[in-house]
Symmetry: C2
Amino acid sequence: MSNFANYLTSQRSRFESDLCDWLKMASVSTDPAFAGEVQRAANWLADRFRDLNLTTRIIPTVGHPIVYAESPAVPGAPTVLVYGHYDVQPPDPLNEWITPPFEPTVRDGKLYARGATDDKGQMLTHLLGAEAWLKTTGQLPVQLKFLIEGEEECGSQGLNEFLAGKYDPALGQSSLDLIRSDIVVISDSSQYGPGQPAVTYGLRGICYYELRLSGPRQDLHSGSFGGAVTNPANALAQILSAFLDKSGRIQVPGFYDDVLPLTPAERQQFADLKFDDAAFMESLGIKAMTGEEGYSTLERRWARPTFDINGLWSGYQGEGAKTVLPARAGAKFSFRLVPHQDPQKIHASLEAWLKKLCPPGIEMELVDMHSAPGSVVPLESPYMQAARAAITRGFGKAPVFIRSGGSIPVVNTFAQKLGIGTLLLGWGQDDDNPHSPNEKFLLDDFHRGSAASAALWDELGKLKS
Amino acid sequence: MSNFANYLTSQRSRFESDLCDWLKMASVSTDPAFAGEVQRAANWLADRFRDLNLTTRIIPTVGHPIVYAESPAVPGAPTVLVYGHYDVQPPDPLNEWITPPFEPTVRDGKLYARGATDDKGQMLTHLLGAEAWLKTTGQLPVQLKFLIEGEEECGSQGLNEFLAGKYDPALGQSSLDLIRSDIVVISDSSQYGPGQPAVTYGLRGICYYELRLSGPRQDLHSGSFGGAVTNPANALAQILSAFLDKSGRIQVPGFYDDVLPLTPAERQQFADLKFDDAAFMESLGIKAMTGEEGYSTLERRWARPTFDINGLWSGYQGEGAKTVLPARAGAKFSFRLVPHQDPQKIHASLEAWLKKLCPPGIEMELVDMHSAPGSVVPLESPYMQAARAAITRGFGKAPVFIRSGGSIPVVNTFAQKLGIGTLLLGWGQDDDNPHSPNEKFLLDDFHRGSAASAALWDELGKLKS
């Protein structure tokens, strides 16, 4: 066993306790009420980097700060950019958590807390992989640059402005020059399943919108006015129902024009994973599934675009019956995109289409909350082979190559701005509930991820830069 | 001028102050949090009846109490049942009130408060009409029985059980024997317009439901699960959009089977009212209207059935974007019914139809919140002519005969249980916002209503019982 592996094993309980300290900070980025907690989480992380003598900066943005840290250059070896985020999703509905979201609790080898897997726990493994090298050998086999943002869950506006690459007097260089690297590493996704690590080579993109409809100046009595005044809630249901046809196909004009179809080889590879629909439904508490006709569950989740309503509101939601014709109705909804679909093109088509659908007597407002294209990354690069070797060392098993239904917009940005690819090395499990109550992270995955990370620096160090 | 009319004029400021005292009590019946205020409002009313030496009872029910009061029998004259309610609608959205809902405020001759017109202000006119007779002549020309409930805004369960007519040991007779009368008088609706009083001869009924859909055990990440797991919010939009076709016709099977069509004479009478669509839209702040094809605005509001969503909820409704596939979605919705439609028949057809519409992977629950059939009352009865004369005296103008889109379920109950008709004498205005923020009642309408009420006891006293 290598020195760094011994070190990692010896420090497990301290690592767990450190992660719990960080998870107690309610760094919910989307809600301004939590801004102080977001700042505390950033400071905590920066202190950890400074403890390793990395050159560390807390970089202010229009929103929440970026934590940046780098180790010394290693001539002849690659420079690796580790991206992650220290912000978390809102914890509601709070009453569905078994233990409070910001009081980390271990049950049955699993650490429960908002952010446990998405992304504090996963991100921290790379800091610990670096720590193992630095504490045992005093140096790293590659140069590491950590770029850890605080707005991944709310559109990454600060990071996007940072990655615009303007010359920054505070840095003495452009932000892109600061982070220039050979490869990106991100751990913010899942393994294929328990005991089966994976490398993710494809991601879906997203377009997220809020649709606001307004009718009469104020809520009306549904008896006196119903039947004559266009009801915004009725209109909302009508409009939202038009997005999907009976076969599950999205009806926005031109939506499928640029969709990259699955190759027969990919469909075979997915089929070989022998995904268990029955176990999947059992785990979610559902008795049946629906989706786009002609595709398997994995294809629907990983490689086909979707339309989902994420939130709905109108009128009276309290106890009892209120006979009201609501003045307003609204929805949050999003498309998941597959590679080659263009969010701008979809937005334009969507807006024109919605204007036609909106009935007389209703004013419509469409708000573009955020968007990012999908991506696929090449399977054949030496970096990918290094990742395969490192995961095999850390987890004791070779990974499979999968895609993910989620979106990591920054992967596209790194490709565009730095011209480099991304290794997506998810240490989580599909049932870790990253955006739901009772989010968790297996402690074994946390430690195996740290071991794989330390091994990855080793494997990448063997590559000529 | 008659004695009672002089008395009413002299007491105006005290009457206004009394009404304001009552309106300060937040008697919101649908929300258990307000139960104490509901009880206070009942006590206040009972005390007012006792001040007039009426035999007064606060009758407990499974829900909020009924306030009952009666004057002595008048041999040879009719007995008149005055029905009203002292409970009010919930006041939300609170931030849209110019002055707080339970701090009555006069602006420009209008009294603003929740319950001002619906129904505390309107109900009180009949107590004041009685007071005028009692204070000036010591007696009433008819026997009055006041039946004032506290659950009109939440389904009237207590009143319905009371009207089941069981022998009540506390009363020493059956509840129906207690209230047996020749005619009912209700003021809980609108005049035709400012300066144009009306008698309402038709009411719509209602079926009010809550639909609850549930999918996965908990909210899911819309990236990881979207496209494969049936989304309850998507399903809700799909189901709710199926209720109306493009011509505004309700699609529940058999829904129109029993609809009483408008006669050509009624359509002509409605047309003669020369309803001003443009002014109506202007008053509501809307630029266009939609509704069932082939019908005018008044026909749509008064005499055709409707489908309105009254409330909607699902997923994330907070600030920002949450990429969630919601576990649950729900709606409150209602039909307005016209005479001859049967709520039970509609419920059965609705439930069977919804089960077919509900997609795989979704569990559905349909809750019947409350219902009542519509009604029409004969225009030719001597009671109706007495009402016409009394309104002409109180308001200085003869009433027109109209219908109303709202529901007063108890009108049907009185017809069924007591075999008597109802005089619907609305003192309010269409823009009084009875179920909206900034509910109001014109003080002139309050006083003219009291005068018309006092005159009504006079006119009815001239009829032989």
